[in-house]
């Protein structure tokens, strides 16, 4: 059987792009950040020879996974390089990319020496997958036994614990059709994300801290650095993966930092691409198209884009790859490449977003318990490989995370977050009725028809999200309402599994289920469009006029003077004003407990009174910034403050402090 040598092609393309990036660097030109984005493709293409065979066999899936995988690989690589103490410069980043390509070439050479991966042993799932684009799976695949029934039998190590892996006849759409649907979904998702967050300036508050961190990475050439402005100067404690990649793109391109405000739209799209590649590899292209359609029209995506949840989006772009690796393992791929992919994604998620890591671990634990009960010996061997791979790939990332959180004071009590409990009316709004009903139907279908753990990935993720949402019962601290942001991906995997099961059963179900999914996606799209407009208005916390106000503050600040903000201008002021800031966050807005004391000082100023006046004098507070539309707190005029700027999105009070 022959197949295009996609790994070789990937390496050639990676080399060409890396050479082009090197040309930019050698010329010394400063170009748009967009011009450096192909660095992600270099990192993704470089590791193609190391990917599990099921993922690198088809061109469309490989194309879809390249950018999210590249972001994952580049993030882990840059965090590791910085943890070694190597300065992040154009040269060191180019060398990192070159090292990745060289590692890929080495793996390709070894793979060429041994045509079958994993020591020459045939992959259990390999024969069940189409080897070329558009080639249907083998006839009769749907009739294969679904699971090993938990019986310990001779040779069980080579049998899938997750059940049959075959995609039924006709389940795979032709490449042009699948590509067209994928592009349509990407376009729709991009439109929704731009509507919710795009523009100049973008909506939300968090973009300020991401731009500031990336800019400081470029300026200081490292990741473990101090934020000179936040709370009068503290270490950057953000999850490093997203800022590491954004900072690298800035360094490579020399472009304007403000361009990174559009990165949120790119991260939305990375999540869709990763989901398509993962679901298509596990369940086939029909299911993948259904999954990305659901994900594209989920209003929660627009909600998160509007407040600029970049780290969450990065984590959600890596999560499908973890589910893919788990699915491949459950299907019977026990190779180092599958275990390595799972380890790499877990390391990447740990670097990207701690909450996503928590939800991922709970999801995998749920699936792992089932798999362990079915084939304990096999699962223990896989766990050992996973631990070894994670230790090698994640040691430097773990070092970064430990040093980053060394003096953060831990987390607050769960009681600080009780006002963030899940509200089901908001969950319904963030999912839309159509997707809620579709999810319910999919749960019924999976529970009724699925006997293999691989089909339960979506239910496991949904369960993990709900467990996090209600973890306040066990006094676990967290921003509980954010559980809803994992639900669209869970519903996407649920719908995909339902589509896969229906397709496998054939008959009327095979015809009706895709129609139901299409109708639901079409019904959800208008709701998502409406929500995108609403959240843009709600989180639109600055505008052109307000920027003039920030400009006024910059002109009026003297050396050593500080600024106090409310919660809606908290992350904007450090970036826009470039001055020390005391931010009046709500308790539930605070992550590291070490920040509570200085936040309390800011809140004292915002509340007025003698305590506030003492803080103004001690900290030399010159201006107080309050967004008149800011929700969540009662707004008061700072003691002794005189209004020097007023607009719909910003008021600036001068304190008269020297």
């Amino acid at each position: 059987v022959t197949q295009p040598d996609l790994a070789r092609e990937a390496l050639v393309l990676a080399t060409l792009i890396a050479a082009a990036l090197a040309a930019i660097v050698v010329s010394g030109a400063d170009v748009s950040v967009l011009a450096a984005v192909p660095a992600l493709a270099v990192a993704g293409l470089a590791v193609v020879p190391m990917l599990p065979p099921a993922l690198r066999r088809r061109r469309l899936e490989l194309a879809a996974v390249t950018l999210p995988l590249g972001m994952l690989v580049l993030a882990v690589a840059v965090v590791s390089v910085a943890a070694l103490g190597i300065p992040l410069t154009r040269v060191s980043l180019l060398m990192t990319l070159a090292a990745l390509v060289a590692a890929g070439a080495l793996a390709q050479r070894r793979s060429a020496d041994r045509p079958l991966a994993d020591g020459g042993r045939a992959q259990p799932g390999a024969a069940e997958r189409p080897l070329h684009d558009d080639v249907p799976a083998q006839p009769g695949a749907a009739e294969r036994p679904l699971a090993d029934g938990g019986q310990a039998q001779p040779g069980a190590a080579d049998r899938p614990v997750g059940g049959a892996s075959a995609t039924p006849r006709g389940a795979d759409l032709p490449t042009p059709v699948a590509a067209a649907i994928l592009v349509a979904c990407l376009t729709l998702a991009a439109l929704l994300a731009v509507r919710a967050s795009g523009g100049t300036p973008p909506s939300g508050n968090d973009w300020g801290k991401y731009l500031l961190y990336a800019d400081e990475i470029r300026r200081q050439g490292s990741l473990l650095i101090d934020n000179p402005y936040w709370l009068l100067g503290v270490p950057f404690r953000e999850d490093p993966a997203g800022p590491a990649v954004l900072g690298s793109l800035l360094i490579l391109s020399g472009g304007a930092t403000a361009e990174l405000a559009w990165a949120i739209v790119g991260c939305v799209l990375l999540g869709l691409l990763a989901t398509f590649a993962a679901v298509s590899t596990l369940f086939g292209r029909r299911a993948a198209c259904a999954a990305v359609a659901v994900l594209a029209v989920a209003p929660a995506q627009a909600d998160m884009a509007a407040w600029h949840g970049l780290a969450n989006f990065v984590g959600l772009a890596f999560l499908p790859l973890a589910l893919l690796a788990v699915g491949l393992v459950l299907r019977g791929d026990r190779s180092w490449s599958a275990c390595g992919l799972l380890a790499l994604t877990l390391v990447g998620i740990a670097a990207a977003h701690r909450l996503t890591l928590l939800v991922t671990v709970v999801t995998l634990a749920g699936i792992g318990v089932v798999a362990l009960a079915r084939a304990p010996g096999v699962m223990l061997r896989i766990a050992a490989r996973l631990a070894a791979a994670a230790a090698v790939l994640g040691a430097l990332v773990a070092s970064d995370l430990l040093r980053r959180s060394a003096d953060d004071g831990g987390v607050q009590s769960y009681s600080a977050y009780l006002d963030t409990k899940i509200v089901w009316s908001l969950v319904q709004r963030d999912l839309s009725w159509a997707l809620v009903v579709l999810a319910a139907i999919s749960v019924l279908v999976v529970v009724r028809w699925a006997r293999e753990p691989i089909a339960w990935l979506g239910i496991a993720l949904l369960g993990a999200a709900l467990a996090y949402g209600y973890s306040w019962i066990a006094h676990v601290p967290g921003f509980y309402i954010r559980a809803v942001y994992f639900m669209p991906l869970a519903v996407a995997f649920l719908v995909a599994a339902a589509a896969w099961l229906a397709q496998r059963r054939g008959g009327r179900a095979a015809r009706l289920v895709p129609a139901v999914i299409a109708v639901a996606a079409l019904a959800a799209a208008p709701a998502a469009w409406g929500v995108a407009g609403d959240v843009r208005n709600y989180y639109g916390w600055t505008d052109d006029a307000a920027l003039r106000g920030y400009d006024l503050v910059v002109r009026g600040l003297g050396p050593g003077q500080t600024v106090v903000t409310d919660r809606c201008t908290s992350f904007l002021a450090p970036w826009l004003v470039h001055a020390p800031v005391l931010a009046g966050l709500l308790p539930s807005d605070i992550g590291p407990a070490a920040e509570r004391a200085r936040v309390a000082e800011a809140r004292a100023v915002l509340a007025g009174g003698a305590a506030g006046r003492r803080v103004v004098a001690r900290r030399r507070v010159r201006f107080v910034l309050i967004n008149p539309r800011c929700p969540g707190t009662e707004q008061r005029v700072p003691s002794g403050g005189s209004l020097v700027f007023a607009s719909t999105h910003l008021t600036v009070f001068a304190t008269g402090s020297p």
Partner: protein
């Protein structure tokens, strides 16, 4: 364990009907509800956690803030205190007092109001330098020419390489 034939026959159509009915009912239910106000700061707060009465913003509370129209606020206003009002300006300010006795701001740029805590000059924010660093931090742009180097050139080179070598198989 596979479902019974009856379930197999009826489950999916029943679920489809349920989905369609729900989708039809959802817009009707939404239409019957009070329309959402996108300017409502409590839009995304559950009703149980909303304050019992509307919370005035800091703009309504500030004692030294002249009455500013929504249009002026949308454009932004720089307020400069004027500690020494002139006689002419004071009389103009007095002429502009409303029947309720509250000072009313004149056109943006006018030296009014001029006495007591309301003494200020209003200036459109647009008169500030538009090329300041803060604007650059919010909306800076760079040349897109680099895209041609990092995307187009490698793409063209890759296509040429494939044409020359042909698709290799393994």
């Amino acid at each position: 364990v596979s479902p019974t034939p009856a379930v197999r026959r009826g489950a999916v159509p029943a679920l489809l009907v349920a989905l369609l009915v729900t989708m039809a009912a959802a817009p009707l239910a939404a239409a019957a509800q009070k329309p959402l106000d996108p300017d409502d700061p409590d839009l995304y707060r559950p009703a149980s956690r909303r304050p019992s009465k509307p919370q005035p913003s800091v703009l309504e509370k500030a004692p030294a803030i002249p009455v500013l129209t929504t249009r002026r606020l949308q454009r932004g206003v720089v307020i400069t205190p004027r500690p020494r009002p002139t006689r002419t300006a004071r009389s103009r300010s007095e002429r502009r007092r409303s029947p309720a006795g509250r000072a009313v701001a004149g056109d943006v740029g006018d030296p009014a109001p001029t006495s007591g805590p309301l003494a200020a000059t209003l200036r459109p924010a647009a008169t500030l330098d538009p090329n300041a660093a803060v604007i650059q931090r919010a909306s800076g742009r760079s040349s897109l020419l680099g895209l041609a180097v990092t995307v187009l050139l490698p793409g063209v080179a890759f296509v040429l390489w494939r044409r020359r070598t042909g698709p290799r198989v393994s």
